[in-house]
Symmetry: C2
Subunit: 345 residues, 2 copies
Amino acid sequence: MSRRLLILTDGYHDSHTAKTAINAIRYKPEEVVAVLDRSQSGKTCQELFGLGGGIPVVGSVAEAPGANTLLIGIAPPGGKIPPPWRPIVLEAIARAYDVVSGLHDFLCDDPEFAAAARQSGSRLVDVRKNDEHDVAQCEGFREGCLRIHTVANDCSVGKMVVSVEVVQGLKRRGIDAKFVATGQTGILIEGDGCPIDRVIGDFVNGAAEKLVLANQHHEVIVVEGQGSLCHPRYSGVTLGLLHGCRPDGLILVYEMGRTTIHGMEQFPLASLETTRDLYEHVAGVLHPCRVIGVAINGGRFPDAEVAAERDRVRQRMGLPVCDVLRHGPDELVDAVLELRRQLKK
Amino acid sequence: MSRRLLILTDGYHDSHTAKTAINAIRYKPEEVVAVLDRSQSGKTCQELFGLGGGIPVVGSVAEAPGANTLLIGIAPPGGKIPPPWRPIVLEAIARAYDVVSGLHDFLCDDPEFAAAARQSGSRLVDVRKNDEHDVAQCEGFREGCLRIHTVANDCSVGKMVVSVEVVQGLKRRGIDAKFVATGQTGILIEGDGCPIDRVIGDFVNGAAEKLVLANQHHEVIVVEGQGSLCHPRYSGVTLGLLHGCRPDGLILVYEMGRTTIHGMEQFPLASLETTRDLYEHVAGVLHPCRVIGVAINGGRFPDAEVAAERDRVRQRMGLPVCDVLRHGPDELVDAVLELRRQLKK
């Protein structure tokens, strides 16, 4: 039975908090029946999120006939399910929907949800659940596989989107490329990967290494980055992932107009130059690596302003620069292929 | 009932693998009844480990009358209990000993151990078990508390010993100082702390921050470091801890004579200068911080060679340098107090 998604975002439609919903609609629109938001019922996804065309926004589970899976569409800090959502989740379970969640609080650990699911036969799918228990070995990386990694000066800037778009661009050039997902949304879209931020600290580097080992039969892999080395909350995960996958090249992603760490406005964002230097310094401890391009997330600005930003950043950084959703990823794809030529991979 | 330890090291008496045993003997000798090593039975701890005086090494649980607690005395990579130890652990449980373990594989998740403990009334104490589930907030640090952190170019170089000795030295000067434990051995010695390498990736920074918040009523805290920013396996934990506790000053610890990462000989160790620059760069992203002194672990060398090394490193680094177990920690204590004066804390 194919997956038919009803995506729950109820009350959270800003692009940061609802990023799981928005990217499921962007990359799996054929699976999405509707979005459930009681305060926005009657709109289309295009009106609510700026993408997704005529996919309807509905006000209840009953209004999405044909759906068979409820997807929790938000990723709040701390990862807890909002209490007003409980009756909606319970109704979906009562209708024998599968429920898919990327939250840190597991559905299957919730006694009420678990009991209801046992009764109806629902499957509770906690995407972040993992049993990673191996330290990194630093052995067995295949020389011929080029490893690219997306990094950033903050979380929620679009590293996953850039990773997916660059892989699609590489495939269009005939390259056997693979998007390696490390977060719940990426795993949902790609169908495999590892929820790296949920792995026990000692095994984060090892879990990242295993992702490379499992995917290095491809010519190029693009490993989705998480958090930021500059982020007060998530820098440990970011470094474990960076050192575990030991990339050959980095793509630096940022959101145009953002000036402080998202949700922690007391921290000014590091400049692109500072961020580049930090990543190259830290990654270089284990494997030679440099930033090969910059991806702008210009979503909040008109075309002309993003074009001007692109020119400025090209000048400043001396690197290929693009907004993958606006300009396509070709300039970054070229940078990846140029690195591949240089390294003879 | 006071704790009377029988320490199990059976077959693992090198100073890296048996570091939990050795440091329990060093800092809690009054609690140690005996060490259990079937291949070394009849020796004293002094003969086997070079410390611990006449504490006997025995060949069975029966030979340690008066003990009431079996301590698993090793910390192998990956953290699994050696299979030949199972009958020993089961015998201790049968005698109603508590069993204390810092391994990643929890005793209480082992069906055979758990069943035996239920029968005998033993407590299975898994020191690494935790329920940390909070992200860092970057709020509420007390200005008046000086935060010191021990860091290194590798794991198992003696960061815990340096932390404990510097705190003892500060206390001898009348300073209200606190050793903040972050590993199983430190927690065993100090009686509190957080097993930071066992925390879920997303919450490592947050757990480290909570350690500061819980201890910042002291004048100076010395937060035990873990792993190394240069370590292929553990760098993620190291950075989460560094960014979570946001130290004012770092003490850089290294083992004299070591040239490669312990257990991963394909990786040459970074120089002290390279290590210092890396830590100052990465820590400085969130909080101004510098290396204020260097601690030599000269355990494998005679006095004269350590003295010569000390002079060389003082010259090279322009910093206070000592081997805390050989020279005492006073030079590092002076460096901490000088930083405190400079920062007016």
